[in-house]
Structures are given as C-alpha cells and as structure tokens.
C-alpha cells in the first residue's frame, strides 16, 4: 500500500484541494452567518474589519508554513496547496480593504488618501495590500511560464515583506495590549527563521569540499 501522506495519488490531491477550498471559505461563511443572526456586536464595521484582517494574516502565515512543513515532513505534494492558500490570503485582504474603503470610509477618497499618507499603520497595511496584487496576478501557470521560474520566484519572495508589513500593521493599530500581534509576530519569526536554518544547512555541503584534501 502506498503511503498517502508521502505520496498521494492525483485523485487524493484533488480531494485535498477541494477540502482546502471549503475550509478556506469557512471564515467567510461564519461572518455571513454572524451578520444574518445579529452576531456582529455593537460595532459591526469594526468587527468585520478586524475579522477579515485576522484571516488575511492567518492566510499569509499558513502560506508561509508550506515550505517548512514540506521540508520537515517530506510531504512534497503540500506545495500544490500553496497557491490556493496564497489566493485565500489575497481574497481576505480584498475583503479587508473593501471593508475599509466602503463600509468604514464610504468612498471618501480624500480621507482615505490622508489616512494612507498620515497614519503609519494604514500606510504599511496599504503597502502590503498593493504588493499582494502582482503576486495574485502572476499566480497562474501561464504567468509562471511567461516569467520563467527564476524571475517568478524572485517576485514571489515579496511574500516575506508582505507578511512582515501585515504584522506591523496589526502591531501599530492596537492601543496597548500587544498580546495578539505578538503571537503573529512570533509565528512569523519562526517561519522565517526556519528558512534561514535550511539555507545554512544547504550551504554546508557546498562549503565542505574546500576542506577536503586534494
């Protein structure tokens, strides 16, 4: 019997993708359910803003967890879920941004521009959102081919900056209790730290031959 986790069949991967698609929509479903059932609290717009922001961050961190998970577990097929995770992060970021522009500011563009320029936490949040757009646009196979693997990869390293900006955006927003942003920051630090460790390990064999006696 083949090991499903190490080497799933094409069918099993399709099932995994379909499951992930449904799971990714659960937060939105919950938000709609709360909205219909008067569960958004006294300040619904603030609730929706925080909710969509939170799930954007979760989406970004989950996307960033694929590579470390894959390397540690050897489950290489996980990489095939990464695009959908990234697109879900973008999806919730779009909802978050729309909530701000539409529900919070009601298209008062003068106010929005002022906010983006004057409020550091909005500046970094806006920047993170803008940087996500090219990644979403180049997420298709066709775009990957057109750009070429190296170029594509270089572009998509922007995700590191985006995740950092996202966490900073949250950190600068809270009034005093930084417990929550701190948790996101720690998870992000671990996810980025692991990458540095992997990088160092890969370099070792390259360096090693130098010390071999000729």
């Amino acid at each position: 019997m083949r090991n499903v986790l190490l080497n799933p069949s094409a069918r099993q991967i399709i099932i995994a993708k379909a499951t992930l698609f449904i799971v990714g929509l659960l937060p939105l479903a919950r938000l709609v359910w709360l909205g219909v059932n008067d569960g958004l609290g006294a300040n619904p717009i603030e609730f929706i803003t925080h909710f969509t922001g939170t799930w954007t961050l979760v989406g970004l961190l989950t996307t960033l967890s694929i590579t470390p998970l894959r390397k540690i577990s050897g489950w290489n097929w996980l990489i095939r879920l990464r695009r959908m995770l990234g697109l879900f992060a973008f999806f919730y970021a779009c909802l978050h941004f729309t909530t701000y522009i539409w529900l919070d500011q009601f298209f008062d563009m003068q106010m929005v521009v002022k906010d983006v320029i004057k409020r550091p936490f909005i500046t970094v949040g806006f920047l993170a959102f803008v940087l996500l757009i090219p990644l979403a646009l180049t997420s298709t196979n066709a775009m990957m081919k057109r750009l070429g693997g190296k170029k594509w990869q270089r572009l998509h390293r922007l995700i590191y900056a985006i995740a950092v900006l996202g966490v900073v955006h949250y950190w600068w927003l809270v009034k005093k209790d930084i417990t929550q942003p701190l948790i996101y920051a720690l998870v992000l630090a671990v996810l980025l730290g692991i990458r540095l460790v992997f990088k160092a390990q890969i370099r070792i064999p390259v360096v090693m031959p130098k010390h071999n006696p000729e």
Partner: protein, 310 residues
C-alpha cells in the same frame, strides 16, 4: 333609559408628556433586561433607581440601545476586548463598598455607597460619550453633580486637582493580573473641571443601578472628555496640589494627555479624531469640539494651547 356620562379626566390623570415620551425607553430597557435574564451566566444584578429627576443638560439625541451600552465596553480591569467586561465583571462585589474622599479637604469622609446613593437627588443625564478610539454613544446616566460632594468636604486652598482611583483587586478583576496598565487605574481633573455642573458621579444607567461592566457601583462621567477620563468603580477621590498621574498618561504619555478633551482638530498620533462612528449608525459623523459641550466648558480652557495641552 340610562345614559352614562363619560368620565371627566382630571389633570392628574394625564400622563406627563416627558413620561409619555419615555414609554419606548421603558419597553426597550425592559426587553433588554428580559433578554439578558435569559442568557446563562450573565446575571444582571442591577436594581431600579427611584425618584429620578430630569436635567436640562440632557441631550434629546437618540439613545444607544441598552444592549450595546452594556456589551461594548472598554474596561481593561476585566480584559482588553470590548466583550470581556460583560463576561468577566459579573463576579465583582459592589457591596460593601466605600469611597474615601480625602486629601486637601477640611472634612474628609469615607462614604458608604448606600449612604451616597441617598445623599443627593439623582438626576438623569443623557450624555454623548466619545471614545478616544473613534466611536460614540448616547447614554442615559443616573447620577449627581460631583460638585455636590466636593462642596461637602470643603477643599482647602491647596486643592488644585482631584484624583480618582479605581478598585485594585486582581482576585475580582482578572485584567489586573496582567500588566497592560499600571494598576490601580487613576484619573484626574482640575478642580474647576471637577466642579463643573456637567461633571457627574454616575450610579446608574437606563434607570437601573450601574451594571458591573459599566463601572459599578459609582463612576465618573465627564462628557466633554474622551471616555477613558471617566474612571470606573471608584474607591478614592483625593484632592491634591500637583497634577495627578493618569493611567493612560503613564502608559503612553505622547498619546494620552492630562486634559484629553474631545477635539476633532488634534489627532491621536496614530489615528484621526475628526470623525466618529455613533454606535448603531452606518455613516461616520463629524466629531464636535468638546464633544458638543463647548458652550458650557470652552471658558475653562481660555488662553490655553489645546494642541499642547491635549
């Protein structure tokens, strides 16, 4: 044939217009209480206040529903989420409770809360409340002018400020087990601000004694200042010569000044104060100078640079 004469109504039979106007509030408050009674774990320990007189200082704006006033609270002693206080404050014991009025006064006094509740006529004050975070409510408080209490203790010449201290009891206030603020919570006013007729000690809202999450059994309400100036669950009122340190001032001195008057022209360093969202409304509204109480309080700050004294 018997012809019945219609009953003649006496003047005393007619419901006064103000009371007639309050019929919806009565139903609303009643249904809110009925709903909360059905919620497990959220025991409403409030009781009805009687003999409330209305006040010319009240606004006629639409009141924020009881449910929102009592479930969307900033009260860090019970947690930093807006929903935390309603959940975590139910265990707060508000009897016995004393408030020590002390410091630079001729007649210091330790008040028992029940005596304090009977000491002065209780007025209804429907005030706007503007939170520094950019949202606002309209709340029907019950209370009395702080000036009444201040006159009784006779401040001495060296009393220039008044310091308010909230209960410090981590056993009852789970939020105090974390050092998110420097406990106990303290706030302060200049003596003339404290004496201003708009400044009240509130003991109730919507005709009931204060729910714990709103600062039971007694709290300050200063309607022209950001909400955090209005200290909750007060145990000490002290008259001092030097400007007292405030909880938020200690936590972030560049963000929360001593005065903290509502001022749409002076932004919080991290967000704008030009507009606010009234709870229950979709569109943001413009924030008013001194939260709309400028006519009454602007003279307190004549000649002061409010950008510096934020």
């Amino acid at each position: 044939m018997l012809i019945k004469k219609a009953d003649v109504l006496k003047a005393a039979d007619v419901t006064p217009y103000e009371i007639y106007l309050q019929r919806r509030d009565f139903l609303r408050a009643g249904s809110a209480l009925a709903v909360s009674a059905l919620l497990p774990g959220v025991a409403e320990a409030t009781t009805r206040l009687s003999g409330i007189v209305s006040s010319p200082y009240s606004t006629s704006e639409e009141k924020t529903p009881y449910k929102d006033v009592t479930t969307y609270n900033n009260y860090y002693e019970f947690g930093t989420d807006k929903s935390d206080p309603a959940e975590n404050a139910q265990g707060l014991r508000t009897r016995p409770w004393t408030i020590s009025v002390e410091g630079a006064v001729k007649r210091p006094k330790v008040w028992d809360i029940d005596a304090l509740l009977k000491a002065f006529p209780i007025e209804e004050r429907i005030y706007r409340l503007r939170c520094v975070e950019g949202w606002s409510m309209v709340i029907p408080w019950e209370g009395f002018a702080l000036a009444n209490l201040i006159r009784q203790v006779e401040p001495t010449g060296s009393a220039r400020y008044v310091e308010f201290t909230t209960l410090h009891d981590p056993a009852q206030m789970p939020g105090q087990r974390s050092s998110v603020l420097n406990w106990p919570y303290t706030e302060g006013l200049r003596l003339d601000e404290a004496m201003h007729p708009l400044t009240i000690l509130a003991v109730g809202l919507y005709g009931q004694t204060l729910p714990n999450q709103n600062g039971a059994p007694v709290r300050l309400v200063v309607p022209w200042k950001y909400g955090f100036k209005s200290a909750k669950s007060i145990v000490r009122i002290r008259f001092v010569e030097q400007q007292p340190k405030t909880a938020w001032g200690r936590a972030a001195p560049s963000e929360y000044g001593f005065y903290s008057n509502v001022n749409p022209q002076v932004d919080h360093p991290r967000w704008s104060q030009a507009r606010e969202r009234r709870i229950g409304e979709f569109f943001k509204r413009k924030t008013e100078m001194f939260n709309g109480y400028g006519e009454q309080v602007a003279q307190l700050y004549q000649g002061m640079d409010l950008r510096k004294n934020f």
